[in-house]
């Protein structure tokens, strides 16, 4: 079944004409029809449009186009519902966008299309990417393919579940405080958050502009390297994108990591760390030592302040970004006798509970008399957190941690306690505040039930090449990524 292949595996099959892009796309659509009724990774998808793109890819292949020229030619890739795809609906998992249809492509979508990808589907997410479980979507919860009673993580839960369930070859998600790495860990796939500024955010609906990055979900590390190479680069339409050359990320995947130094932050041995997660990560550390890496204990002394810092900066930026959803230019409108009443009613009816909570918190920390005490202070603590990492990277090439303190939790388990939900992001949040790159890859399973465990690697700013090399060496010598969930039709 071509939908079970990796991106590089399908590219090779397409090149040999073992399979056509139409057959591969149809296999994804068949898998969605078979399993997505239970998983609900997709809010919606346009099968006819995907097949039309596949036919165009088959024509290009027949005319002699190669994957050397177009690395994603004929590869079906699904998209989180927060990225603009021209002519496709965009809801951000919210009611407030109504029947919005994107008038243009995000830069990453342009790049994927130029590389030949079949871009399809709208993947479920926490509303406006605010959440860690994909329970905050206006379009229903997404379930973890490994255990349907559990959450897939979030906010990019649909992106992770769709890759884990072989409903697409790869997907795109976004990561503001862990929203790629955490669901990748909980669903057993590879997820990468690039360095801030590595990938253009043009066409991404902003949540927290100084933290958001777009990144890939894939079935192995090589595919993440391929996709990142296509997505990266400076963009005149995003003035925060950084003019840094884009290397060939697959070139460094040699398996040889001898002499590289990996740091273990002592602050990450927290009380809430599940013993099975700890055991899996400890085993990964031993494995790295056997591969010839040098393991070094390091300190990131401001770790304990990261979540508080994050929930000030992220909510403050969100409260400003979400001001644009006011019922005037697009989306839902609840009429009012004057503009203020229209705004209040539209926003009250259109936003869900978590988004309202964050808008109120963000508005409060920016309001007159509180800005310096909260927002400015948080930006200063952010500097301290970033300096911790830059200092650590003077002695190590990458940092190893668990991606999450526990495996996937039950649906509903934390949905009434926002603070507990926020605290589950403890290992992923610092990376966004520091603006560095990070990824999660599978490193084992819990016993009963059998749930994936993620290993997080954190790298230097623009250190994706080294990070991918380190991840690839572990993956290829262990093979956890080849395990698949058992899915029954329904």
């Amino acid at each position: 079944m071509p939908n079970h292949l990796t991106l590089s595996g399908l590219a090779a099959s397409l090149a040999r004409r073992d399979v056509s892009a139409r057959e591969a796309t149809q296999a994804c659509l068949d898998q969605i029809a078979r399993v997505d009724g239970q998983i609900h990774a997709f809010i919606r998808h346009d099968g006819a449009d995907a097949l039309a793109q596949a036919d165009a890819a088959d024509l290009a292949l027949a005319a002699g186009a190669t994957h050397a020229q177009k690395p994603l030619l004929g590869i079906p890739i699904a998209i989180k519902d927060v990225l603009a795809v021209q002519g496709q609906p965009l809801q951000c998992g919210s009611k407030i966008l109504g029947e919005f249809v994107s008038p243009y492509d995000a830069t990453v979508i342009e790049k994927l299309k130029a590389a030949g990808a079949i871009v399809f589907g709208r993947l479920n997410m926490d509303e406006f990417a605010m959440g860690s479980s994909t329970e905050n979507s206006a379009f229903g919860v997404t379930r973890n393919p490994w255990d349907l009673s559990r959450i897939p993580g979030g906010s990019s839960g649909g992106s992770a579940a769709a890759v884990a369930a072989d409903e697409c070859l790869a997907s795109l998600g976004t990561d503001t405080g862990g929203s790629i790495r955490q669901p990748a860990a909980l669903c057993g796939c590879v997820g990468l958050k690039p360095t801030y500024g590595r990938v253009s955010r043009y066409g991404l609906v902003a949540f927290a502009s100084s933290l958001d990055q777009i990144g890939p979900f894939t079935k192995d590390v090589r595919d993440a390297a391929t996709l990142l190479g296509v997505m990266s680069g400076v963009d005149p339409r995003d003035s925060t994108s950084v003019p840094q050359p884009v290397p060939d990320y697959t070139a460094g995947l040699t398996g040889d990591i001898r002499g590289l130094k990996l740091g273990l932050p002592k602050e990450y041995l927290i009380g809430g760390l599940d013993p099975e997660v700890k055991a899996a990560v400890d085993a990964a550390v031993k494995h790295y030592a056997q591969l010839g890496a040098e393991i070094v204990e390091i300190s990131l002394p401001h770790t304990d302040y990261a979540i508080a810092t994050y929930y000030i900066i992220a909510t403050a930026e969100a409260s400003a970004n979400l001001a644009r959803f006011d019922g005037i230019r697009y989306g839902l409108r609840m009429e009012g006798s004057d503009p203020t009443e229209l705004y209040r009613r539209t926003r009250g009816a259109g936003f869900g509970a978590e988004v309202k909570r964050r808008i109120i918190l963000g508005t409060y920390v920016l309001s007159s008399g509180y800005h310096d005490a909260y927002y400015l202070r948080a930006q200063k603590v952010r500097t301290l957190i970033r300096n911790d990492f830059l200092k650590a990277f003077e002695t190590v090439d990458a940092i190893l941690t668990p991606t999450t303190p526990t495996a996937a939790f039950k649906i509903g388990e934390k949905s009434d306690d926002p603070l507990q939900m926020y605290l589950s992001d403890i290992f992923t949040i610092s990376c966004n505040l520091a603006g560095i790159c990070g990824m999660s890859l599978p490193c084992g399973f819990t016993q009963s039930p059998r749930l994936p465990i993620g290993l997080q690697l954190l790298g230097k700013p623009f250190g994706e090449e080294t990070l991918l090399k380190i991840a690839h060496a572990y993956e290829q010598s262990t093979g956890w990524h080849r395990e698949k969930p058992r899915l029954s039709p329904g």
């Binding site: 801030y196 100084s210 019922g327 006798s337 926003r347 309202k356 409060y364 970033r386």
Partner: protein, 95 residues
């Protein structure tokens, strides 16, 4: 350290967000807990520390002042909830 109280009604008005009395009550309790947690930042001495706005410092990002393609009038209005005569329609603003 005692958390500051959020006057949810006042802040919701700043945010142009209509809340039901039930939502106000629930938010008030939850935000009290979250603010209490956030108070821990006050333990740190940040004297002389520069704030971080962009993790990778960039300065003076400019571009040439050239006419470039942008959304057509029609595309810009396509998602409007109400429009008339090529304009977004809004409630009366000035008496």
């Amino acid at each position: 350290m005692a958390a500051a109280e959020i006057n949810v009604q006042y802040v919701a008005n700043l945010a142009r967000l209509a809340l039901t009395p039930d939502e106000e009550k629930k938010l008030s309790a939850q935000l009290g807990g979250i603010l209490g947690y956030i108070e821990k930042l006050k333990e740190l001495d940040v004297t002389g520390v520069e704030p971080t706005a962009h993790a990778v410092p960039l300065v003076n990002v400019t571009r040439a002042d050239e006419v470039r393609p942008s959304l057509s009038h029609e595309d810009a209005l396509r998602n409007a909830p109400r429009q008339a005569g090529g304009l977004f329609l809004v409630p009366k603003i000035v008496e």
